[in-house]
Amino acid sequence: MIRLKQEPVKIAGVPVRNHLILAAGVLGTCASSLSRMLRQGAGAVVTKSIGPEPRYGHAGPCVVVLEDGVLNAMGLPNPSREFEQELSLLEGEPVIVSIFGGNPDEFYEVAGWFAKKAQAFELNVSCPHASGFGAQIGTNPDMVKACTEAVKEWKKPVWVKLTPNVTDITAIGKAAEEGGADAIVAINTVRAMRISTGLKRPVLGNVYGGLSGKAIFPIAIRSVYELYEACTIPIVGCGGVSSAEDVIEMMMAGAQGVEIGSAIVNDPDIFRHISEKLYASDGVSPKEVVGCAHV
């Protein structure tokens, strides 16, 4: 396998310690768990998505672990503005704050709370199971553009995280780019559900949820590849990454870095384990790898 040289990394203006970033919503509500992930080797962390009001999330079950992935319908639980306190404990660390709102004004407002402390914002316009938020915005190019523009007013790097649950993900990617996004993150979870045949009802409290993990890796690779062909801003790959090989594959598809979420379930030390295999002093420059599969 190709290995990468260890060199200072910047992704879309954000300095990160390596190419492996903790994905939004995974161990992302407390400063303590976020810094634990950094200690365990994450190059940067994305926080839980923070919104305009505290939310307690959907009724359980919220998560089921499948053989080849994870199904979740958390429902965007978050402490809203109070999250500022947590952020104070992370000053100087590579922390990207994920935010959501129901319209551009809410995005602007929430971003404002963290504008001093965030290294960058990631806009969650892609959660497939929170009504009025997430994918309900992220399937509409105009809304995506407007929300991106609103957050860009805070003059911080803005990453826009896309949903694969659209007919054409490149249309949404281009809207983010037009709105001034510094990077695109692809992908959020794929709308999905399971039924308990024993109890004759959907397993998730919210009925519908999002699929992540290995099952969606080929969908994530495809999305990154399509976006790389259609857009010019950097792309961060996300979805089903669980090995150094997967990271290389994402980068070859066009990603400058990757986010990792569900793989934590099987290996809480995943960042260290991937880094050990991914980097080598005689490795190649990431520049030679990013997008090299485009023929």
Partner: protein, 255 residues
């Protein structure tokens, strides 16, 4: 019929036993093998999914406190619930063991009292009426009781019972109960140099049970109660947020 994937395993309730006015043991038609101290996520269909100890391999013991626990304690034999897990680590029992339980915190400790040869069980409750597992436990081990109102046993908190205990006799100390109770026990154990042989079962708001969502994380180390716990060494717990604050379902700190 094991389902593929980690979907909730459907079980049928076979028997419901009232342990106290507020606490009910619910037996079902499947025995789960688990380590003492591990927990399961219990799905009350249509309501919520909540963490519970397995008081027996085929039972949970539920204190009614809100929606989901009410739904569970009012279920009838024949009805179905779902079980994910068992999850988490578990207690490690060595030698003579002191179990300290407050309220329904007795559930994860119960089988330790029943199955190990040399256990002293300190059982605390608010009143005599709310005491659970007393009869079952006293036939198997040395049980000492404390009630807040003095209606039976020692009058006061269960931590008070520790005065009459010679800590040196015990190789293992296991504790489960409400946060303030565990904090007072921590203080006593620290004062009597017994912290290093103690294990505490913590509880925090849990949504996933598998170390993913972060809702059960504990300061300052950021460990997950569901995955790194629920059982932690006293040495770690004493430095934690326990008894000072915890986070609710939204991640907001509460006292």
């Amino acid at each position: 019929m094991p389902m593929s994937d980690g979907l909730p395993f459907p079980v049928t309730i076979t028997r419901v036993v009232q342990e106290s006015p507020n606490v009910t043991t619910i037996y079902f038609d499947h025995a789960f093998s688990s380590k003492h101290g591990q927990f399961v996520m219990v799905w009350a269909p249509g309501i919520d999914e909540i963490p519970m100890a397995l008081s027996y391999p085929d039972a949970i013991t539920v204190q009614r406190v809100g929606d989901a626990t009410t739904a569970l304690v009012t279920k009838k034999p024949g009805e179905g619930i779902g079980i994910r897990g068992p999850f988490g680590n578990g207690f490690v029992i060595r030698g003579k063991t002191l179990a300290i339980a407050g309220g329904v915190g007795a559930a994860p400790l119960l089988r330790i009292g029943l199955e190990y040869p040399d256990v002293t069980f300190l059982l605390g409750a608010r009143t005599a009426e709310e005491l659970i597992f007393y009869d079952t436990l006293s036939s198997a081990c040395d049980v000492r009781v404390a009630t807040d109102d003095g209606s039976t046993g020692y009058h006061g908190y269960v931590a008070g019972l520790l005065n009459e205990i010679n800590m040196d006799e015990y190789e293992t100390i296991v504790v489960c109960g409400p946060d303030p109770m565990m904090r007072s026990v921590l203080k006593v154990l620290e004062g009597r140099n017994a912290l290093d042989k103690s294990q505490f079962s913590m509880h925090r708001y849990m949504k996933c049970g598998v170390g993913l969502c972060g809702s059960c994380c504990v300061d300052p180390d950021g460990v997950c109660v569901c995955k790194d716990g629920p059982v932690f060494a006293g040495q770690m717990v004493i430095k934690s947020e326990l008894g000072k604050y915890h986070r609710n379902a939204a991640g907001l700190k509460e006292i």
